[in-house]
């Protein structure tokens, strides 16, 4: 059963076709990889799904409900979290505050209330501990190392208990030890029921982690299936090698 369905999605930037009639689905409980050469439209697909840029055509359906046209905060509220290509955190907030920003509260009274802080802080600290960064809970985000920022970004996005998380290059710019830790965290969260769609250039990481891989080239889906089949697909090899 699909958690996310993208149907005939299209986006142009002036004369450049970034996403061209793109259709793909993400199964509930899966870790799906979205790969393709540079400029193939992967991040644009993320931005279209999460409402950061308006689509020209097509539809995005999440849990059998169209989310096309909704603003990013509402899409997040429905259960789709995302991270960015370069880890983005709030540099002048502490690590703990970074964790509390995504917590959702309904109504102005709750937004101005202090009552729920301790419960939310406990959950945030648990999450930081599970990511092994609880020791920097009181440190400003701007003072964290890049690896800590990557882990913090992943931990923070989980605070609102999203059902689907879009990870944009989770392995980008991190050392092999941290890479393994990030993969473990993704597997653990996936085992708890979180579905992942990830964009990644590190093929080893994708092949080890993903159940399903979708390949984009020039904004179109050129192949999809299990990682082994996709790797052997001639169209994929052509796209990557430019043959």
């Amino acid at each position: 059963m699909s958690l996310l369905e993208i149907a005939n999605l299209g986006k142009r930037f002036g004369g450049v076709v970034a996403v061209d009639n793109c259709s793909l689905s993400v199964a509930t409980g899966s870790i799906t990889g979205l790969i393709g050469p540079n400029g193939s439209g992967k991040t644009t697909v993320f931005n279209l799904v999460t409402g950061f840029i308006p689509r020209d055509r097509g539809d995005v359906v999440f849990k059998a409900q169209s989310i096309a046209g909704l603003p990013p905060d509402q899409i997040y509220g429905l259960g789709i979290g995302r991270t960015f290509q370069l880890a983005r955190i709030f540099p002048r907030l502490t690590t703990l505050e970074n964790m509390l920003v995504p917590v959702r509260r309904a109504g102005w009274r709750a937004l101005l209330s202090q009552r729920q802080w301790s419960h939310e802080q406990d959950r945030a600290m648990d999450m930081l501990e599970s990511m092994d960064i609880s020791q920097v809970a009181g440190t400003l985000g701007g003072a964290l190392s890049y690896g800590q920022r990557k882990l913090l970004e992943l931990a923070a996005v989980m605070m609102a208990r999203p059902e689907l998380v879009l990870l944009d290059e989770p392995a980008g710019g991190v050392n092999p030890v941290l890479l393994e830790r990030i993969a473990d965290h993704i597997r653990q969260l996936n085992a708890q029921g979180v579905t992942f769609l990830l964009v990644e250039h590190n093929m080893g990481f994708v092949m080890k982690l993903c159940d399903e891989v979708v390949v984009l080239h020039q904004g179109r889906v050129i192949a999809s299936g299990n990682p082994r089949d996709v790797r052997a697909n001639p169209a994929v090899l052509d796209a990557y090698l430019g043959a």
Partner: protein
């Protein structure tokens, strides 16, 4: 350990002392000083209100004088056109001026907050000048360039400033309280997130447009109420003096001086800079020499205290504590905490 234990008790005691001193100002001072105190408390309120928008969200509005002037005209027009007599009654209309200013801010904010950064600054300035032009040209309503005369209270010279001082003080306390509540809330955390990275905030579910608009409206409503009291205090209002860019710039400078986005910074900035400005006025008459002083302060703050006085002092104290906790200087360690470490809660200097 003892210092940590004493701090929670010291804070309310210090606040209580400051409040008692503020309440006692008119009782222990001459009319001239009471009049100065009106202006200082006015700017405490204005800077604090501006900080709710500019400091917490990072959206620098240079057009807040529009709300100040609108509040002044709203109260003035009510008094003149409804025939409300001078005395204490006009103070009851101050919240009405606040509500109407909030409505205007909602309209302006709805448009202006579609822009960011420098564009937002320019749009707010443009709105301010539009309002000034309206006040000058709607002669039948506002009196235009000839000004609008408000009823003058019959209080004696020695007493005249005192009710205005307490009204300004009440509004300043209201502003600081509102700012404090926001700073500690989830809403405030959302505003600080917007200041740091608006797109990221949007990605993690912060309804940025609603939050920014709410902060803008709250900020403007407070400024409008203060403008209302100011208009009644000076009893004759002109477009160029109440919708005055210098009033808007002063708020901004005071916040930058004290510490952008902090609770106590705007209060400190307003007290220091407005007191200095009044001293200039006292010693050099109505000349605008104080503008040179303002420019010099602005340059010095940017050069030496880019974060403002309060965060710079907090940083210095944190560095000293960190240095003391770490013992004598030794080789740099990877595990050493940076001086930017804050208690594991909400960072609110």
């Amino acid at each position: 350990m003892n210092t940590v234990l004493r701090l929670p008790a010291l804070k309310p005691a210090g606040l209580g002392l400051a409040l008692a001193a503020a309440l006692a100002v008119p009782l222990i001072s001459d009319p001239g000083t009471a009049s100065m105190a009106v202006f200082i408390t006015m700017y405490v309120g204005l800077a604090t209100a501006w900080n709710i928008m500019g400091g917490y969200t990072g959206y620098i509005s240079l057009g807040h004088a529009a709300f100040f002037g609108f509040g002044a005209y709203t109260l003035g027009l009510f008094l003149v056109h409804l025939g409300i007599p001078a005395g204490y009654q006009p103070f009851l209309l101050v919240p009405v001026a606040g509500v109407l200013t909030a409505l205007l801010a909602a309209l302006i904010g709805w448009i202006a907050l579609r822009t960011r950064a420098a564009t937002f600054v320019i749009v707010t300035i443009a709105f301010m000048f539009m309002l000034q032009l309206l006040a000058e040209n709607l002669v039948n309503l506002t009196g235009g360039g000839a000004g609008l005369g408000l009823p003058v209270p019959s209080w004696g010279g020695d007493f005249f400033a005192i009710p205005f001082y307490y009204a300004m003080l009440a509004l300043a306390i209201l502003g600081v309280t509102v700012s404090w509540v926001i700073r500690r809330s989830k809403f405030g955390l959302g505003l600080l997130a917007i200041r740091d990275d608006e797109d990221k905030a949007l990605a993690v579910g912060v309804p940025t447009r609603a939050f920014k608009l709410a902060a803008f409206v709250i900020s403007a409503a407070l400024v409008g109420m203060i403008g209302g009291v100011y208009g009644y205090f000076i009893t004759y209002i002109y477009p160029q003096f109440v919708v005055d860019p210098l009033i808007g710039i002063s708020m901004v400078l005071m916040v930058f001086f004290g510490g952008l986005g902090t609770l106590s910074g705007p209060v400190l900035g307003a007290i220091v800079l407005e007191w200095s400005q009044l001293q200039f006025a006292y010693h050099f008459g109505a000349s605008r020499l104080y503008l040179i002083f303002y420019a010099a302060v602005f340059l010095l703050v940017i050069r030496f205290l880019p974060q403002g006085v309060v965060p710079s002092i907090a940083d210095l104290v944190a560095r000293r504590r960190h240095g003391r906790a770490a013992g004598p200087p030794g080789p740099a360690s990877d595990s050493a905490e940076p001086p930017t470490r804050i208690r594991p809660g909400l960072a609110s200097p």
